[in-house]
Amino acid sequence: MKETAEPLRVALDRVEALRQSVTAAQASLKQLYSLILAAGFAVALSSMVLGIAIAAAEGTPLPREVVGLGDLGSQLSIPTPGALITLGVLVLVVTPAAALVGSAVWLARSGEWWAALLAGIALANVALGAVLGHV
């Protein structure tokens, strides 16, 4: 009886080890995606709040339009409230795309080429949206 049970136990242990490794790999991808989203959201929100705080401290009117990309760099060096709020909006829009980039790289490095290709296609669509918006 013991001779029969031992190979079965070894096989079950191997299956469990495989399951845990797959689970760990999935958790790693989820953590990466989660980290990028959380970081992007925090940066976007912080930038906007800082912009409002500076405007309130200086007593300047709050901006009603986003700053153009051409002026953003120079205004951020001061920094102006409008530039900080615009930066927050930009970071917010770019955050999902950044998470897609991270996923595509992770999937490609894991040899999941089909999934990486799909992430690349979705990313290309987001980029195309940005290009079409400027046309």
Binding site: Q26, A27, M48, S103, L118, A119, A122, G129
Partner: protein, 282 residues
Amino acid sequence: MIETLVLLGVAAFAAGAAGAVLGVGGSVLLIPFMSIGLGLDMKTAIATGLLSVIGTSAGAAAPYLRQGLANVRLGVLLAVGTSSGALAGALVAVDLDSRYLFATFAAATLGVGAYMARAGETARERAWRPAPAPSGRLRLDGQYFDPEDAAFYRYTVARPGTGVLAGVGAGALSGLLGVGGGFVMVPAMTGVMRVPLKPAVATSSMLLGITGAASAAVYLAGGFVDPLLAMAALLGVSGGTRVGIRFMRRTPERTVRLAFAALLVVVAVLMGAQAFAGGAVP
């Protein structure tokens, strides 16, 4: 102006909470509120709504991912459809009469709401269902822990191609009307792809950000973004999302599903009224 910002912040809080619980971006509630309730320009409302969609997605999807509820591979697959649809929708929206948009929106949400109210299968019944070959090749299958049942579930994903097509439709609505498309994707995932509701809601939250980003860039470049409105909406949404996530983990599946169906009926009535009123999109 301060009153508008406060009202918008409160509405965004409610929308964020509802969005996190129900897997919708929140703009499906915010856009009617801004255009009808606050009398804002429709394109500005859409742009603000899209930014709130991204905010809801980032705020809700990150904890859902850490909790293991969201399925990244499934989200990436469906993002191919939603982002493609969002591009097409944004291109078509320029020439389409807004009355047809509102009428189509109302009809679609009413149909999806009826479907959600009728479907009664539980996550437990869907667990361990065999999946067609494409699901296995793309490794879409997932697993999650459900605190409601104190149980660990695995599930398989059926008909991924049909899910991508549903994503194209959801993305097109996002591009046309500024909504995230979660109200299409959650039923598509639960009904067509056989994904349990909680992973479907979590994956939808992740997906909304990608879809919203594709559409929001167009409005941002077009100068339709009011940073103050965006800020108020984002702050409200981020607070509401945190509250909604707490409810999501502990709310029974049936309650989530019926609340979602009721929400869709309300949205359908609002949009239908807009269609008969001649549409509000300039």
